[in-house]
């Protein structure tokens, strides 16, 4: 034992005169670090109640509860997370997973109360002293637990597609579809927004499990036209997708298309379990006017219920607007046929080239059938009614698109002006651009709309696609006059449109007359909306129906008119879009089944 070992320990006294490390102030004077995982905050303006936080919570500490003042609406369930601090472990996975970024944490860490119930609280709703605290844990931009980027979709390059009507989008392969399906959060908020309320999370889950047959069956539960919808649906679901808050929404439409493309048409009956259906089981007949989405959907759901169905179609092919209003490069005709052939295979009869009111009267249908469903669609164009529209080189988009589909030649001018900012306007623009390319080898087409770029109703990819095909899209202008010289169109005068809707959201465009522009062109196409043709309703029938604004037939929630045997649905009631038509047809089919069963 040496002396040093005895003396050295006494150096402990050195520290007696040092400043202590402990904090004298009360503990709440010591704030948590910048990204401390303290108590939760939730920004109700951002939160959509998708429940991803509840899903990922490993301690089962989160419930989704209704909160006063939070309305249930498209893209927002109206539910908000309630956190049980008896269970929470402050791991912040809920913050990292939150697809909207609404859920964060403050750096506050002390909370004393004598009521244990208070520790179950709704961040954002219940008043807390840390609600305004800026510091605290937030998801770092550098990490993500869910994938915000879409799986890549292959499509033909502009130079390979702008001369023909070849389908642009190539569709997902298995790997891409799996990757895309993997992004789904399974919150189910999209289901409410889909007019047909398709069980989107379920069929996407089936893709993940690589059980395409099951996915296909789920599609047919609410939508008998998956090939069509998988390509040209307006995909309202995607605008409600939780992922679009911080990234790209799930490509729900492409996934639907992927499912439909995987099952070959010969296997439809086997997969869907309808091999026994070829002839009607019931001795009841339903007539359907119009082989569009609404009529086909009603026909399908009535057919699987065993009814005898006959569809009367004025045009030579089925599909309605999906065939005659949508260009082939978006929806090839053979894909429409796949959906329709299956419906036909269930015993549904379609009589083409038969116009009700001309070839057959509605009264005859009433007498021969137990019920009638009319889904006649919007086939008439609407006019801007500006000076010059009566020129013969001014067309409606719907008419031109129909002519193209029918295979008739169009007299395409070298320079064209399209008025309209919706998908139909883009369709006609891109169709005419192709025809111009075929005829002249170049594209000279200008599309203009009232709505400015940011509020154009057309799908973004359509606008981008049209520009890639060298069409000029110049939105934000109001058409004023078509200049005509010697009976020939010289161009279109426009003025700047400053706003389209007023403060209450009504259509009430405002113009700045000082900002003018002139688009030169020899041909004008109007694409500002469509109207319906109800000429098949005789005066007699019309008088017993209630007609609403713009001559719309009034129906109840089951699409039954005041004439109990007549059901009306599709674009002439709701829309215009394919998925509303399908939903209407589905609901009407159920109502027709109820109506006929009651009268049996």
């Amino acid at each position: 034992m040496n002396l040093k070992d005895i003396l050295s320990p006494f150096s402990v006294w050195k520290r007696a005169v040092k400043k202590p490390w402990t904090i004298k102030e009360p503990i709440n004077d010591r704030p948590g670090a910048e990204n401390y995982r303290g108590f939760h905050k939730n920004d109700f303006d951002k939160c959509i109640g998708c429940g991803s936080c509840e899903e990922i919570c490993q301690n089962n500490a989160i419930d989704l509860v209704p909160v006063e003042g939070q309305e249930t609406k498209d893209g927002d369930s109206g539910l908000r997370p309630k956190i049980d601090y008896g269970r929470c472990c402050w791991c912040a996975l809920c913050v990292d997973v939150c697809p909207t970024g609404s859920l964060t944490m403050s750096n506050e860490y002390t909370w004393v109360t004598d009521d244990p119930e208070e520790y179950r609280f709704i961040p954002g709703a219940d008043e807390t002293k840390w609600q305004e605290e800026k510091k605290g844990y937030k998801r770092s931009e550098d990490i993500q637990l869910i994938n915000y980027d879409r799986a890549e979709m292959l499509e033909f390059e502009p130079k390979d597609r702008d001369k023909s009507f070849i389908e642009i989008i190539k569709g997902y392969n298995k790997e891409q579809a799996m990757a895309e399906a993997d992004r789904c959060l399974e919150c189910g908020i999209c289901t409410a927004t889909c007019p047909a309320h398709m069980d989107i999370p379920a069929y996407i889950a089936a893709i993940r499990d690589d059980d395409i047959e099951n996915a296909f069956r789920i599609l047919y539960e609410t939508n008998p036209l998956p090939e069509i919808c998988g390509r040209i649906c307006t995909h309202n679901c995607e605008t409600a997708c939780a992922l679009q808050n911080q990234g790209e929404p799930l490509a729900i439409r492409w996934l639907k298309r992927y499912i439909a493309d995987q099952i070959s048409p010969e296997r439809y009956k086997e997969v869907l379990g309808t091999e026994h259906l070829a002839d009607p089981i019931l001795n009841k007949k339903v007539a359907i006017i119009g082989a569009g989405p609404a009529g086909l959907s009603a026909a399908y759901y009535l057919a699987i219920l065993g009814y005898k169905i006959k569809i009367f179609e004025a045009l030579p092919d089925a599909g309605g607007m999906t065939r005659y209003g949508i260009p082939e490069y978006r929806l090839p005709y053979d894909k429409i046929e796949e959906d329709i052939d299956y419906i036909k295979a269930l015993g549904v009869e379609i009589q083409f080239n038969t116009k009700i009111g001309k070839d057959v009267s509605l009264d005859e249908l009433h007498n021969d059938y137990d019920a009638v469903f009319a889904g006649t669609g919007l086939h008439l164009g609407r006019s801007t009614k500006i000076p010059g529209v009566d020129n013969k080189r001014v067309y409606f988009a719907t008419d031109l698109l129909r002519e193209v589909s029918l295979g008739n030649e169009i007299d395409v001018a070298e320079t064209i002006i399209v008025i309209g900012g919706g998908n139909v306007a883009m369709d006609i623009t891109r169709t005419l651009a192709r025809l111009q390319n075929q005829k002249y080898g170049k594209v000279q087409i200008i599309t203009t709309s009232l709505e400015s770029e940011d509020i154009m109703p057309a799908d973004r990819e359509e606008v981008v696609g049209a520009r890639e095909e060298k069409a000029i899209i110049n939105p934000g202008w109001g058409p004023k006059e078509i200049e005509i010289k010697n009976g020939k169109i010289k161009g279109l005068h426009v003025v700047k449109c400053t706003s389209v809707f007023d403060n209450e959201g009504r259509f009430n465009p405002k113009f700045d007359q000082n900002q003018k522009k002139f688009f030169a062109g020899e041909m004008v196409v109007e694409s500002i909306g469509q109207g319906m043709d109800l000429s098949y309703l005789s005066e007699d029938i019309k008088s017993s129906l209630k007609l609403g604004p713009r001559g719309r037939v009034q129906v109840n929630e089951n699409f039954q008119s005041d004439l109990k045997w007549l059901f009306v649905g599709g674009d002439i009631i709701q829309g215009p879009d394919v998925i509303h038509g399908i939903a209407n047809g589905h609901v009407a089919a159920k109502a027709i089944d109820d109506y006929i069963s009651k009268n049996m």
Partner: protein, 399 residues
Amino acid sequence: MTDISKSKYKNYKADRSKYPKMENGKAVIDLDSHKFTKIWQGPQHPGVTGNMSVELIINGDEIMKAKTHVGYLHRGFEKLLERRSYIQGFTIVCRICVPEPDTNEYCYSAAVEELAGIEIPEKAQWLRTLNLEMSRIGSFLMWIGGQASALGLGAIGQWTIGMRDFWLDLFEEMTGGRVYHMYMIPGGVRKNLPAGFKEKTRDLILKTRKLLYNVEETFFNNAIVKSRLKGLGIITPEIVDEYGIVGPNARASGKEYDVRMNNPYLKYGELDIKMLTSTVGDAYARAELRYQEMHQSLDLISQILGKIPETGEIQTKLPNVLHWKIPAGQTYMKAESTRGEHGFYMVSDGTKYPRRVFLRGASYTHAISVLEKLAVNISISDLAALMVSLHTCPPEIER
């Protein structure tokens, strides 16, 4: 190095002439003879490391027999993990061990990554290495406080636990949590370093070194400490393999086994690091070795701080974690905790949930087989010092 010849245990031989009776070299213990007392050290006893207890049979103040009892802390982590998805699991593994949670996080995340076939970015690897070294310092500071307190040197415990809190402050800034950091998410780490972190860490390294020299003066150069620890709980090289002893306990007996160097993981292969060993194998040698390893850790932290890339990704993109399935397979990921080889054995059956996750902790053998062997024939007053010198941590035993 230490010199056992100066230890009081050197020529210690108990007088066995009267009792206990010896048969085949073993004492015949008959509790009814009133010559022996059975007492429990723990579970509530200041001289016990964590929630465990040792059932002792003593003769005078000499321990004749010791038996470790655990079960006061069984939280069933391995069972819980079977019911948690891979991303959920990462938040609970850190809770297995309070003083040193990050080794669990690393092993778990690394096992998930290996089974899922994910490589993590360069910067994330550096940040993980930094985090692991910092947690080693935190754990060692707690240990040395315990070792000193077990010998009645309470002040040292106060200093080092206080210093540990400064390290926890750094953890708080880096990860958002003081004790449970939940930092090493599968795929990478959760946050970049906050501004000014490197400078703060360098300051704290200096501060810690200063404190360590104070500890050296008062603890290692201390006649009492020397006389009590030297010769206590000698682990001979022969029993290292026999008992599966790892970490500083094995290295103090000459076994060159440190996972950081034997099987370098993360960025340890790129650091200047040397195996520290001793040949004496008693409690004092182990304490000295750990003391050197603390300096080594501080040195490694400065090295790492200089090498962390300024920019770069910190996470590899994961599939959607809400339905993340991992291909079937099994793996064993190990790392060097302050107590030795620490590893996760993970078995996946291709579903969303692991089939089996097993944590191999160093204390599993140290606190039971080894302690039961070394505790015999020592004074009951040295038992606490022995336990701490083995650096036992009950959470690793029962998980």
